[in-house]
């Protein structure tokens, strides 16, 4: 489970990221490369350290358990972010690094530099703009589901051995109807981003290790989870 968020830089993006994680109860540490940001962050009462961009970053390995840390590279300049990403990756092979990029092009560069995820700012914003024009309802529902703390949630369950669903065909599963939830898709944990959506109607057999993506209310999800893992009754 993730415990610590390391954010590099303290611009408006970094501020929002920090704010959101603190709200969710995570511990956030900031690394900044200029005096002004350092004072700002200090004034806002945050854990902050002033560093040089060409630091060797050894302190991170000393202070944190790398499996429980996510790094956000949110410096102002794409080139700086690339440099930071490469430096971190050179030092720590397994560190989870997310970088902010201006556009899709720089996002690709950041991924080449070793970022696990790169978020293109322009594209993300543009997509939201277009979606709010064309599909306002979908956007609202998605935002509730993904980001806001509402009763309705998205959840994923790994199918374990002897699960009630193992061996069943995806489109034939009836179980969820009992619990008022919707099965959206089945993902293969091995192959990232490969999904079979239940609406596709393929004959996908649920196997051990598959990840079930479901949507429902918190209570219902809990009951459903207990059921498929065989804990209840």
């Amino acid at each position: 489970m993730i415990k610590e968020i390391l954010t590099f830089g303290y611009n408006e993006y970094a501020k929002e990221i920090t704010r959101n994680f603190i709200l969710d109860g995570f511990s956030v540490k900031l690394y900044v490369i200029d005096e002004a940001s350092f004072t700002n962050a200090k004034e806002d009462g945050l854990k902050v350290e002033l560093v040089e961009l060409d630091d060797d970053w050894l302190s991170i390995g000393r202070d944190f358990d790398l499996d429980k840390v996510i790094c956000f590279c949110a410096l102002d300049d794409d080139a700086q972010n690339v440099f930071l990403t490469i430096s971190l990756r050179a030092e720590y092979e397994d560190l989870y690094i997310i970088s902010l990029a201006t556009s899709k092009d720089s996002a690709e560069k950041l991924q080449l530099a070793g970022a696990n995820k790169a978020i293109p700012k322009l594209e993300t914003t543009a997509n939201v703009i277009v979606e709010s024009l064309e599909k306002p309802a979908v956007l609202e529902v998605m935002n509730d589901l993904l980001y806001r703390d509402k009763d309705l949630k998205l959840a994923e369950y790994i199918i374990e051995k002897n699960s009630a669903l193992e061996g069943e065909f995806l489109h034939e599963i009836e179980l969820h109807k009992l619990y008022n939830i919707i099965i959206l898709a089945v993902g293969d944990k091995e192959r990232e981003a490969e999904f079979t959506f239940s609406a596709e109607g393929h004959n996908h057999k649920v196997e051990m290790g598959d990840v079930l993506v479901v949507m429902g209310r918190e209570n219902d999800l809990q009951k459903f989870a207990n059921h498929i893992s065989g804990k209840s009754e």
């Binding site: 968020i5 959101n20 700012k121 703009i129 309802a137 529902v141 919707i182 993902g187 981003a193 949507m215």
Partner: protein, 518 residues
């Protein structure tokens, strides 16, 4: 006031106040002269067809005798239609009754005596302005074949070909562009005529008495000079004397210069006018669009937004006041106008109707200051229209909403929220992103429930979702979301069904929903 004058004034008032008369006149005016009138183009096509058929008959008639119906068609039917057109144009060009009334009222006010003859001459002068315009002369000549007893008048049919100019705007623009270089063409023509005259006279002097030379008359000399100067040089007349050949050499050199000069005038005329022509084109394109999104400012976000809109076949128009930015949009072949979105004139000048044409306004400008100014301008024209804005600095959020922005997109906030997703459920998020990115065939869509659907489907059960291979996530209405609704939940107008499925399945399902069986 004499009896006749009084009758005229009475009649003028009658016509001016008659709805039928004015309506008819307006209709014909739109049909003949108003480019924005939607049915004008059909009239233009029809006239062009008549012209084409007439010219084809002329060509056919050169070698083969025409059937008497064809002759009657060409001489009477077409001519009468053209004559009617001519008269109608003359009629709608100016209003005689209006002229009479205004003169009458002016005289009444000044306590002067109303003089009919003076007013009539004014009216006639106006009409004469029309009759003497180049287009009207061509029109008149095109009717001439009607009186076809005169053999020579048959050639006037060719004037019908010139009439094509009237009905095609691109040809008119071509003529206008060339007309902008009147002075240059005039200079060139003077130079050319002097060159031709001088060399024609010289060649005549040198060659006319020479037995070996074919050039014997002054007409032949002029003909030779013209053919040589144009660098065409048929070679049917060739100078044989030394003097003649010297003249030929001089005239060839000046000929090359004339051609080069002409070409450069035409080219420069076009480059100068090109922007104007393109702008005209954009304006007329916009007036034809029924609905579109108005994007203010071609910033880097706007660039991506337009790409997405283009992909989704959504119409839009960009307003950008900066010329380099505008050129970028032009290069990307986007419909863009160079205008300041914060100025009211921009909308008036380019015929953008914020009340009927524009679906939403997107303020994607570089600073919040510009955005607020634009939003206020738009609000002042239409208090209800939806405005979506990009927010640059968080502290300006309130100012933007005060300026009347309905939806604010603040990228910093978006990114902050999006970043949360990486801590929890990565697979679930990937699945949702795949749905949203529209890179696969599986998409999430919304179907709006309208009156038409409601007439046959009353509740969720009627939607027959189970049979459709779609997943109904829920029903969204007024910011509340009914997740996974049961069969007995009833539908109301304004509900949006949020469904997941293959894009083609959703499309077909939506079509079927709208089908109403009677």
């Amino acid at each position: 006031m004499s009896f006749i004058s009084k009758r005229f004034v009475d009649l003028s008032y009658l016509l001016q106040s008659s709805k039928d008369y004015q309506g008819t006149k307006r209709f014909f005016y739109s049909l003949l002269e108003d480019q924005s009138y939607p049915y004008k183009k059909y009239f233009d096509y029809f006239m062009m067809l008549l012209i084409l058929s007439s010219v084809m008959l002329l060509i056919r008639g050169v070698k083969y005798p025409l059937h008497e119906y064809a002759i009657a068609y060409n001489d009477y039917v077409i001519s009468i239609i053209f004559m009617l057109e001519y008269l109608l144009r003359l009629w709608v060009y100016s209003s005689a009754s209006k002229e009479i009334i205004s003169q009458y009222e002016k005289d009444e006010l000044l306590n002067k005596k109303f003089k009919l003859s003076k007013t009539v001459s004014k009216v006639l002068k106006k009409k004469w302005d029309y009759i003497s315009s180049p287009f009207a002369i061509i029109d008149l000549l095109a009717i001439m074949p009607f009186f076809h007893e005169l053999r020579i008048l048959r050639l006037f049919i060719l004037f019908r070909a010139f009439k094509i100019f009237r009905y095609t705007r691109s040809l008119q623009q071509f003529a206008q562009v060339l007309a902008s270089k009147k002075f240059e063409f005039f200079t060139l023509m003077v130079f050319t005529s002097v060159m031709i005259s001088v060399s024609a006279v010289l060649i005549y002097v040198a060659e006319a008495n020479n037995e070996n030379s074919a050039i014997n008359t002054i007409f032949e000399a002029f003909y030779w000079a013209f053919v040589t100067l144009s660098t065409v040089g048929y070679g049917d007349f060739v100078p044989v004397t030394d003097l003649g050949r010297t003249v030929a050499m001089l005239i060839i050199i000046s000929g090359v210069a004339v051609i080069a000069f002409t070409t450069s005038i035409v080219v420069s005329a076009f480059t100068e006018q090109l922007d104007g022509i393109k702008e005209q084109k954009v304006i007329s394109d916009i007036s034809k669009m029924k609905h579109f999104y108005l994007i203010c400012g071609y910033s880097s976000v706007a660039e991506i937004v337009t790409k997405r809109l283009l992909k989704d076949d959504q119409p839009f128009v960009i307003l950008e006041k900066d010329s380099t930015r505008m050129m970028e949009a032009v290069k990307a072949r986007l419909p863009v106008i160079m205008a300041d979105p914060a100025k009211q004139e921009s909308y008036e000048n380019y015929g953008i109707d914020l009340n009927t044409q524009v679906i939403s306004v997107l303020c994607l400008e570089d600073t919040d200051v510009q955005t607020i100014y634009t939003a206020l301008t738009v609000r002042s024209i239409n208090p209800k229209i939806e405005i979506l804005s990009y927010l640059h600095e968080g502290k300006n959020r309130k100012k933007l909403s005060l300026a009347g922005v309905n939806k604010i997109v603040y990228p910093q906030e978006l990114i902050g929220v999006v970043s949360k997703e990486f801590t929890g459920k990565p697979v679930a998020f990937d699945a949702i992103h795949l749905l949203r990115s529209q890179s696969s065939n599986i998409v999430m869509e919304e179907i709006l429930i309208n009156e038409r659907i409601l007439s046959a489907k009353k509740c969720v059960k009627d939607l027959a979702i189970n049979m459709s291979k779609l997943i109904l996530l829920g029903i969204y209405n007024n910011e509340s979301f009914h997740f996974n609704p049961g069969d007995d939940v009833s539908l109301v107008e304004g509900d949006s069904l949020v469904v997941i499925g293959l894009d083609i399945v959703i499309e077909e399902y939506s079509l079927n929903l709208h089908k109403v069986f009677v």
